[in-house]
Symmetry: C2
Subunit: 195 residues, 2 copies
């Protein structure tokens, strides 16, 4: 009676749309791709599109969620933790840099000024969850609104580096980026206030 897994037809439809989108993205920017165009490319009836999505962005978003999953998983690997918080933070951030570099083509789209904030927030929330863990490990603060603001401050600071990286056309190397980060962290040194 109950369906155990998703209908094969739905999976096939979504796969077609995702492949069509990736094909079109090699030719033109995301914002110029219409639903009608995407459906023609995917050989899918336009009405079928509306059964699963409301706009082209949702197809892209679904793919982006897979990509962000890759970032999440890299955080679940155990890694060497030193006594110095700053070194953990550094290691964490370098992971993010590598991730963004790996999927550069996507992040170029995400940071495009025509694109809706939703993707930025998706990245923000993902990084924020890591930052939350990292900060809560090292601070003996109760959950408080105060802490929410601190976490969002630190998270968006890191995304600020990514925005700058984007504006430099991703030409800054990860080593160099890492050097900048060390300098910034040593200026705004949180180490000295650790528990």
């Amino acid at each position: 009676m109950k369906k155990l897994k998703q209908d094969l037809r739905i999976i096939k439809t979504k796969d077609s749309l995702r492949h069509a989108l990736l094909a079109l993205l090699k030719q033109k920017p995301l914002e110029t791709i219409t639903i009608a165009e995407l459906c023609r490319e995917a050989t899918i009836n336009r009405g079928t599109f509306y059964l699963h999505y409301k706009e082209v962005h949702e197809v892209f978003r679904e793919y982006l969620e897979v990509i962000v999953e890759d970032l999440k998983q890299s955080y679940e690997e155990p890694y060497y933790k030193t006594n110095y918080h700053i070194q953990n933070l550094e290691a964490d951030m370098i992971k993010i840099f590598h991730h963004v570099k790996k999927y550069k083509d996507f992040y170029q789209i995400i940071f495009d000024e025509r694109i809706p904030m939703m993707y930025y927030y998706l990245l923000f929330d993902t990084v924020r969850s890591f930052m939350k863990e990292s900060i809560e490990e090292h601070f003996e603060l109760d959950h408080s609104i105060q802490l929410d603001y601190l976490i969002s401050y630190q998270t968006n600071a890191i995304l600020g580096i990514l925005i700058e990286w984007h504006r430099h056309g991703y030409e800054t190397s990860i080593q160099e980026l890492n050097q900048h980060l060390i300098t910034i962290l040593s200026i705004n040194s949180p180490v000295r206030k650790m528990q």
Copy 2:
């Protein structure tokens, strides 16, 4: 021979469109307002719209630029500068909080997830120019890519507070926000590294 000022007809058209947009924004979200709808409200021919703009966002953006001008001007007033950089930074940030609070209705739109990044970047670039001045005053660094990253890091950190404020429905008072900021700045204390 040369036109000294803009044609009155153009000014009238743009005024009508701006007023129509503000009227419609009281009824429905920006993303749902179509060009046709806006032109009907403004009693402007749709073709005329395309002579000046390409999308509804450009009308909103033009108005937002006026609002951001208000923020810029507040930075040109002379204000009390102490020897402590942290206090200058605080004063600067409180100005931003007041500005955002004053134009809350607009910033609610700007931080909406459906809205394109362009407005976020407009705010980012404005705050960044103040941050650049503030940081360059206190650091003896040459212009360098390193500095670009530092400035974007600090700027976006502040915008992180605004994002968190937005998510709390702008219910946190400015005093409270200021308290959070002091705490954050004292944790990430840049004071001790000042020139």
